[in-house]
Symmetry: C2
């Protein structure tokens, strides 16, 4: 087979300068549809290089007509043919097939036939669903969003740190961790000399790096052995956890705001086709919603003020599932969404939460009741990012950890407050939830390559 | 404290245009040394923004002389002062301190005193060693190398895929996997309905994505529950596993060669200070060795030819630990190094290995005896990268898997050969070993933030 080896992406990019006009090219990809009208036939080929399919055309006089007219959805096909730009057509260009070769046929029971499939059905064939439009778009966006995160932090001089997956830190003994044991013997202490589990957060491990490299971040898998069978919980997911020395709560929120906006802008710039697809097929408010966030100044409101507002709303007759609003409570998603959607009508940081409902490492405010935490709430979702200034005072932190019974076990962590400590802050973004947010996908099982939720594992 | 907030990195970058000349700046960082000569004192401060320390100067008449003359190695210090460029000096600039503030003192038992420490000692304080010069340099290079990998593949239109950590695939039942169980009950099937373990490779999970997105790669943690207590084995490490549709063994080797060269070039471009440090302090042949690889055309040699050469070497009196060279054997490091160091005198791919010593998914060659595998050997190390063309023929692969008793369990993987399969290839690079190779570090425990090897876990 002769012709210039190329890809659909390169051909679509050539539409402006028509640099392939009349040239013979070679393409390989997977057949999405094949419509043979008798005298003329059209194959939509996706070659994996971009979201869009490329149109191949053949006539009944083609030397390879037997192969072309019978090639089925899902089959892998190579062709050579002439590039024809069709600026008036639905497609900006097409390839007039000269030669064709079947790289790989499909068995008759190919599960991804042309018809529309439910996400539930596709979940069960996670290894094949990347070939379905939604997942083709989704995993492209996942890739671009991953790199947007890296670029944002690298461009701001943050250093990436690979914090460990296997750890002795069990996330304050919450009990929702996976234990790691060796295959041959179930003695949990056998391999590492003590009980170990899968990490629930990289934060404690990355903080010491912030006290050497100033700005650092982790970005890797974390685990929760929760049986929560919800659309937002997975037992394995990726977390982004930046940590910044010499940065207080305000500086922390500045970085969160910049980071979220950078991610949104990057997707608009780099994935216009995919974002348009999600806006059309998944969530018709998606692009408007993201643009609104991008164009907003993120507001800041204390938890105490939010409680006042929610109390007033209940008095005025607003019906929450939980109407028992009182200072000290953990806000539910309905409360968070009321604040961001009804009150602020845009992104808002809630700050200064009661210390009892937040993590031990957060900096206690001078009021003695609250900590310098910040949760970013956004319309349509609620909480998207959580962060805090860290308690840098050794005595305050050590006392708290002593009371919780975690001081001995995390003594190494306290070293960051013993030896050259400083004001520092950080935050965490659940990457998979961020991806749900920017695509409008409603189930975390549909944004992970091989979703890991309780009671469903096949691969 | 007044002055322009800046970092050492920005100040060093201003040396060419002297844009901070005479300006008052503010810096925060950690004291590396403090030499007080009575009338004049010098503090070497590292603020985490770059590898180099910045020099702070104070005189006995300074308002903060008490603090400055007593501040100790490891303490966290903020200063404001005037920038003075000193092109004739050992340092290109210094800061004449005006004001100072102790951000965080150290306890007397600070383990990282100014003297030289052994790597073994530092391993035991993994959370503090980033402040030691070697590890300051090392983790910077780790970050840059990570991003070099991402940039190389992204620039070549590869899509990053997060393959799962928890999986049912136990790497062909080799038995060296970590099992994952829930905390509350030790029934191994409780959470996911079947036995699961930590992944040993992402390859099987990423191949289906190559058959949708053409060029893909994974880059994440993998695990081996081996008790091998060697300097090159860790039980948790990061692997890079690219997979390319429509690519044969030759194309695979082309990409490996480009990738290795790109990584080396990126480190020379982006980490000149760090690479110079490693060349001076760790391995005096490092830069020469890497430059030689960068400038070499990687050779290609069959395994069979290598066996002939090794046989001849033994006949000629060369003493290997294992002199019993025969076709079908697994080459040891000494054999690999002989080929790359003594024979080729540069990087070389060994190809077409006996099928019995290679993985089941590798493409069988027409000779019926060998598979289309390639191992990249480099001087001073031996094997650096391993890859292969994959067996795309359903029947051949299914038969092999049937014989191995893994056909049922990996039936989903066979779908990639049932439905629109094609010629494809891929490879794997152990990231931590690559980092050892490019820094000259000799122990894998010294290139990981929190090393995970058997019987040593603290954090």
């Amino acid at each position: 087979m002769e012709g210039i080896k190329t890809t659909a992406q390169k051909l679509f990019m050539s539409v402006s300068d028509k640099s392939f006009e009349g040239k013979i090219v070679m393409l390989s990809g997977w057949v999405r549809t094949n419509r043979d009208n008798g005298s003329i036939g059209f194959i939509e080929l996706n070659d994996g290089s971009c979201f869009k399919n490329i149109q191949l055309v053949y006539t009944s006089s083609n030397d390879f007509i037997k192969l072309l007219s019978s090639v089925r959805t899902g089959a892998c096909l190579s062709v050579s043919g002439e590039v024809v730009y069709t600026p008036q057509g639905k497609q900006p260009l097409e390839i007039k097939i000269k030669e064709a070769k079947l790289e790989g046929d499909i068995l008759d029971d190919y599960p991804l036939q042309k018809k529309k499939h439910t996400f539930e059905f596709l979940r069960d064939i996670a290894h094949l669903r990347p070939r379905a439009n939604t997942f083709n778009a989704l995993f492209r966006v996942r890739n671009v969003l991953t790199m947007a995160i890296h670029h944002f932090f690298q461009d701001h001089d943050f250093m990436y740190v690979h914090t460990p997956i296997i750890t002795t830190n069990d996330g304050e003994g919450a009990g929702n961790v996976f234990d790691v044991v060796t295959h041959d013997q179930k003695d949990e202490n056998a391999f590492y000399g003590r009980k170990v589990n899968l990490t629930v957060t990289g934060q404690l491990h990355v903080e010491p790096f912030a006290l050497a490299f100033r700005n650092v971040y982790t970005f890797g898998p974390v685990f929760r052995a929760e049986h929560s069978n919800t659309v937002r919980h997975a037992s394995e997911f990726w977390m982004i956890e930046p940590e910044m020395a010499f940065t207080d709560l305000d500086g922390n929120m500045d970085v969160i705001e910049q980071c979220v906006k950078y991610c949104i802008k990057t997707l608009f710039d780099k994935c216009p086709d995919e974002m348009e697809f999600f806006n059309t097929m998944i969530d018709k408010t998606l692009i408007e919603r993201l643009k609104h966030v991008y164009n907003s100044d993120f507001q800041r409101m204390t938890y105490t003020r939010a409680i006042e507002i929610l109390t007033k709303a209940v008095e005025d007759g607003h019906k929450f599932e939980n109407c028992d609003i009182k200072w000290g409570m953990d806000l539910l998603s309905e409360h968070e969404r009321y604040i961001t959607e009804q009150v602020v009508k845009g992104p808002v940081f809630l700050i200064d939460y009661p210390k009892e409902i937040k993590a031990f490492y957060m900096k206690e405010n001078d009021d003695g009741k609250t900590v310098a935490a910040c949760d970013l709430l956004v319309p349509a979702v609620g909480e998207l990012v959580g962060g805090s200034q860290r308690e840098e005072r050794y005595d305050v932190l050590a006392n708290k950890m002593e009371k919780m019974g975690i001081k001995d076990e995390l003594d190494w962590y306290l070293d960051t407050r013993r030896y050259g400590g400083c004001v520092h802050s950080g935050f965490g973004i659940g990457f998979d939830r961020l991806l749900m947010y920017v695509t409008g996908m409603q189930n975390i099982r549909d944004v992970q390559p091989y979703p890991r939720t309780s009671n469903t594992i096949k691969y």
